[in-house]
């Protein structure tokens, strides 16, 4: 079944490869091992598989799984094209958590967190992360890592490697202490780039991910950077970015798949942005939304949510910035209902009765079944009296 999906995907993708120069000239020469068979349960690798199988069963029951088949199979197909012969062994699960993270366990369980999907800009960037994780998988880095870790107390370290849901707080700590070594990371980056290239993606996109994440973490106040688990598990972004740029020069061309990616994530953006904003890391969230606005991605949605961030941060002048963003979100012929509400509520507080009534009424017209419909009606009645 998965095999078939993969072949179908590969055929459709073939179009993107037409203009690509010959494979051999610009190849890094990586050849993946043949598909893995389940190891003996008695051995240490078998034990790790069994542990991960159990975690996978737990994960599948989690209410945080994104159960929509479309998005899951979209990401699964990308992983499949990257994994090539290993496609049937890769099982992608999307987890609703507003942090940038992906991981792949030795039994083939791959997790992609929605905070990552909210941050990458196209298919190629997503493929860069998936390809990197598949690189760890193909080289059995986790098994090597397990051999390094001799003591029993190290079980938490193993969990740390795979970003298991449900323990996000502790995980960041565990992950930072027990990441893969630098050598593994570099190898996974190189393999990831190679897999991206063979699947027809623009390898240069990989480096952009790190630029974008760096910009977010630099904006973060105080200790900052707790939004990205990959920062905790993966070393020195600037160095890595330079290396990836270097690799990209030897693997040119390819597509970014920006439009297709945008189409697939569009209807989740509200939910993911709500989750993002609730982290309370406003400086990071502002960088993120501003970046998407600059690239004209989901403009109304991004403007509305950036307005929310300003409103919630509530520093001097933030309410005016919020108003500006809300107004941008209602500019075109399909106004964003919650932005109408946002303007209405601010103008109500500012005593701008007329505009408050107008905006709140328009909001209710567009969203009559909104959770706060009765409440907004009471505001309108109050303003009218």
């Amino acid at each position: 079944m998965k095999r078939r999906t993969f072949l179908a995907g590969a055929t459709a993708w073939g179009l993107g490869l037409v203009s690509r120069p010959g494979r051999t000239a610009d190849d890094l020469g990586y050849s993946a091992p043949p598909r893995f068979t389940r190891p003996e349960t008695s051995g240490e690798e078998g034990g790790l598989w069994a542990l991960m199988d159990r975690e996978e069963r737990n994960l599948r029951r989690s209410p945080l799984i994104v159960r929509d088949g479309d998005l899951q199979s979209y990401v699964q197909d990308i992983a499949c094209r990257l994994g090539s012969d290993h496609c049937p062994d890769i099982r992608v699960t999307l987890v609703r958590t507003p942090l940038f993270n992906a991981s792949m366990a030795p039994n083939g369980m791959m997790q992609v967190w929605t905070g990552l999907l909210l941050r990458v800009e196209n298919e190629a960037q997503l493929a860069a992360v998936l390809g990197h994780e598949i690189g760890h998988y193909l080289q059995k880095h986790s098994v090597e890592r397990l051999r390094d870790i001799k003591s029993k107390s190290a079980i938490g370290q193993v969990f740390g490697l795979f970003g298991l849901a449900g323990a996000v707080g502790q995980l960041a700590v565990a992950a930072s202490a027990y990441a893969y070594g630098r050598q593994h990371e570099t190898e996974a980056d190189r393999i990831g780039a190679q897999l991206m290239h063979r699947a027809g993606y623009q390898v240069g996109e990989a480096a952009k991910i790190w630029s974008n994440l760096l910009a977010e973490s630099q904006a973060a106040e105080g200790k900052g950077a707790n939004g990205s688990l990959l920062f905790a598990t993966h070393p020195a972004p600037p160095e890595r970015r330079a290396m990836l740029e270097d690799i990209a020069r030897s693997l040119p061309d390819g597509v970014t798949g920006e439009e297709a990616f945008g189409r697939h994530v569009q209807r989740y953006l509200d939910e993911w942005l709500n989750d993002e904003i609730k982290r309370g890391q406003y400086a990071e969230s502002l960088v993120l939304t501003t970046r998407h606005i600059a690239r004209k991605f989901a403009l109304e949605t991004m403007h509305y949510h950036r307005g929310e961030i300003y409103r919630l941060r509530g520093r001097d002048g933030d309410l005016d910035l919020a108003l500006g963003d809300y107004r941008n979100a209602i500019e075109n012929d399909k106004p964003y209902p919650l932005a109408l509400r946002g303007i209405g509520l601010i103008q109500r507080q500012r005593g701008q009765r007329k505009e408050a009534i107008e905006m709140l009424s328009r909001y209710l017209e567009l969203a009559p079944a909104a959770p706060d419909a009765l409440f907004i009606q009471s505001y309108i009645a109050e303003l009218n009296s």
Binding site: R61, S62, P63, L64, R96, T97, A165, G166, V168, G169, G222, K223, N226, D275, K278, R279, G280, Q281, L312, L345, R348, Q349, P371, D372, L374, F375, S378
Partner: protein
């Protein structure tokens, strides 16, 4: 001496919680806030629980009844837990209702829980002009899906509120009517 010191340390390390039964009937929660209850509620006390009072019917890992008894302007609404990096949520007496509900949302999402507002409506609470809201929440520690209801009003610049949440399948339906009844008995003086 040494024994005592160790005992004190153990208390603070394990965040020892004490539980006491709440008497049925009229409960004066503070100078200005009274509710009438029936049923076997337990009040929990442990370090960092403030500013809310936490009651439970089934045990604190199952359901929670949070009582906010006159939160003052500028007071932090969340308990002092977490790693210190997290946002504190501060009540301001100038806040309109929608911002107060956002505050509760923030407080209840502070453990990275997923929160969804289902409904918010005007509601006379404690004899004052107040609000009522319903919500869903996925608790991050164990991924349990909770359902909740909250009531509140601001009077004289202080916030009074009751929130109850419990697993949505069995426990919330079991106790919702009881909680709604308690909210109806609230008096703010």
């Amino acid at each position: 001496m040494r024994g005592l010191l160790l005992a004190v340390l153990a208390l603070s390390v394990f965040g020892c919680a004490s539980v006491k039964k709440v008497e049925s009937g009229t409960n004066r929660l503070g100078e200005r806030f009274t509710i009438s209850i029936e049923g076997a509620w337990n009040q929990l006390d442990f370090p960092g629980v403030k500013p809310a009072q936490v009651w439970t019917m089934e045990g604190v890992t199952v359901d929670e009844f949070l009582i906010f008894n006159g939160i003052r302007d500028g007071e932090v609404m969340n308990s002092k837990s977490g790693n210190g990096k997290q946002q504190d949520f501060v009540f301001r007496k100038s806040m309109p209702t929608e911002e107060i509900v956002s505050l509760f949302e923030g407080v209840l999402s502070r453990d990275n829980a997923v929160f969804k507002l289902i409904k918010i409506e005007p509601y006379p609470f404690g004899g004052k002009k107040g609000f009522r809201f319903e919500y869903e929440r996925i608790r991050k520690t164990d991924n349990v899906q909770l359902r909740g209801v909250g009531f509140g009003a601001v009077d004289g610049g202080d916030l009074f509120a009751l929130l109850y949440h419990a697993p949505r399948l069995t426990f919330f339906p079991r106790h919702q009517a009881r909680v709604e009844a308690i909210a109806a008995t609230a008096v703010i003086r």
